[in-house]
Symmetry: C2
DNA sequence: TATAGGGGTTCCAGCCACTGGAAGCTCAAG
DNA sequence: CTTGAGCTTCCAGTGGCTGGAACCCCTATA
């Protein structure tokens, strides 16, 4: 199957699939005309990467997961270790964003938002007020 | 004051300050020896950018905020509009991450994480199971 | 059979926001 | 006078694509 079909079935744009091949993440066979030729198993792997990426794994982590995916004998603990680490990162990211949200929300709440120039948001950003 | 001092007082690395000058965000005077020369007001602006960046504003947004910061006559509503938009983005980001966290958390919980090869995480990523 | 289109191919450049490193200059202390 | 820290510029790389140019291939239709 051509790259366009593989793209549609995996949910990844053709450009991205070529990029993944470029960096050696996933290679494909070539047909006689030079076109990339994807098997169903290739599409499985592409979709696997697509899902992993959309769950926040980096491309390098996808490379690891993919080798764990391919290795039928690896221990599930190996996979769990990566996923757990990622979970921690997501939690940290959420906490950080929640902190930001609170701080920025404060500033926005206190700004009357009219035609007058005085603005607690600008004051907050410039460090002139300590009202949080 | 030299760039190193300005860096220490603003919380931005010298490299970053030079980069900001490169892209025309913040310019500095030059001393006779060619060194960049920062005033206290320059440091205020640097710190303003530092805070804005750490609150999740992009460099382009910082450029806008900076001109609003400098313009003593602008309406606070202009600032509030940008900040409110940013607040929405942060909320969307938090919601997205929370969704991810839930999905990945599910997969991790269901994985026994021992020496056996069968692994719900891998299965989930490859789309072989529908147990969420 | 010519042609038009919608694939596919490669390669180069750009995005964002820095960051590292090389090569060379200036300055203050010992 | 030398040493070392700090400053200068410029070039290249990061991650993960994405856009675009220039070209090839395949199928359908006039």
């Amino acid at each position: 199957m051509n790259i366009g079909t593989a793209a549609r079935q995996s949910g990844l744009p053709p450009k991205t699939i070529r990029y993944y091949e470029d960096i050696g993440l996933l290679t494909a066979d070539r047909a006689a005309n030079g076109y990339r030729d994807y098997s169903n198993e290739d599409v499985h792997r592409l979709r696997f990467v697509q899902r992993s990426r959309s769950l926040g794994f980096s491309v390098e982590e996808c490379r690891q997961l993919l080798s764990l995916y391919t290795d039928r004998d690896r221990a599930s603990a190996d996979v769990k270790a990566i996923a757990t680490e990622k979970l921690g990162e997501i939690d940290r990211k959420i906490a950080e964003l929640t902190g930001l949200r609170e701080m920025l929300g404060h500033l926005v709440e206190n700004c009357h938002g009219d035609a007058r120039p005085d603005c607690p948001i600008i004051d907050g950003l410039s460090g002139r007020s300590r009202d949080h």
